[in-house]
Symmetry: C3
Subunit: 139 residues, 3 copies
Amino acid sequence: MQCMKQKILNIETKGRGTYNITDKIQKVILENNIHTGLCHLFLQHTSASLILCENADPTVRIDLENFMARIAPDGDPVYQHDMEGPDDMPAHIRTILTQNSLTIPISNGRCVLGTWQDIYLWEHRTATHKRQLIITLQN
Amino acid sequence: MQCMKQKILNIETKGRGTYNITDKIQKVILENNIHTGLCHLFLQHTSASLILCENADPTVRIDLENFMARIAPDGDPVYQHDMEGPDDMPAHIRTILTQNSLTIPISNGRCVLGTWQDIYLWEHRTATHKRQLIITLQN
Amino acid sequence: MQCMKQKILNIETKGRGTYNITDKIQKVILENNIHTGLCHLFLQHTSASLILCENADPTVRIDLENFMARIAPDGDPVYQHDMEGPDDMPAHIRTILTQNSLTIPISNGRCVLGTWQDIYLWEHRTATHKRQLIITLQN
């Protein structure tokens, strides 16, 4: 019998940077006993992303930060929207250029990520934030 | 019992800009009586996007337009593809950098968007266009 | 009765460029006899993407390559991560700016793509690569 299960995960970030959430997600799949299916992750925010990123060399994620800082620099005077500070509008641009939702296949009770793929929450704001992630599992 | 329902929504745009389609989507979910599930939105075009964007301050969307105009300017002589005018190739680039499909969780009969999230159709062509959106609902 | 079917597709690329995989995907849907549903495609890599791109004029895809080469050039000395050569970090950036997963509605036994939409695997590495694509079909 097929089913659809939803769960909310609260993740606290320590400001801008990438946070590996793969283990948290695999644990939820295991707890819900899903053998084959799909795992949908949805971040309820417009200033943080979900990415599948290379997990072996941390300089990849440093280079990604630097890339984003180059194309959408903090405090750029061209932005009209800066109510919450110099990182406000860049955070929205970074989110639009990436994704705040991911769908990953489940096989043998786990997200079937590639060898070099892990799931990261990418916080784009410089301050600590509480982020809410909705996980929907289907089999 | 689980089900999968499909519906086509026709949306006419008045040219480049963002169009809030959240109410249209919530209405379809309500009409189909889906309590818990997933809502998949698919735009059948390569020159318009679907984004989840900050809904409180309209200058966010102005800054996003300006950002795209800066990295992929209309009429840039580097483009080989300009059959349909100066906004033709930039529209494809903007679509590739964003998404033409979104999956959003449904809970309590509604898309569970964050407080600041709304669903926008982002028209990248300068002229009026008729856009076709396929909605697939699962529970 | 609803079902979820998974299949792995191995695709060999001849290096950087776009590869039209639409026929391969439509064939899998046909073989699995799915009339109405969703097709989820997932690439198990962090240096190649899946895009829905304009299929009529090949210069669109040339312009997309040139755009990416401009914003994330090969061999840029700003990259710290260059273990696998000058195209290593640009391949990760290009993947993050696009997507390595797509969900497409199925209707009447086929992915319901728009007139100008086809599904492309976008190889971002310059050398030949073997890419693994996981297809999950739902009805």
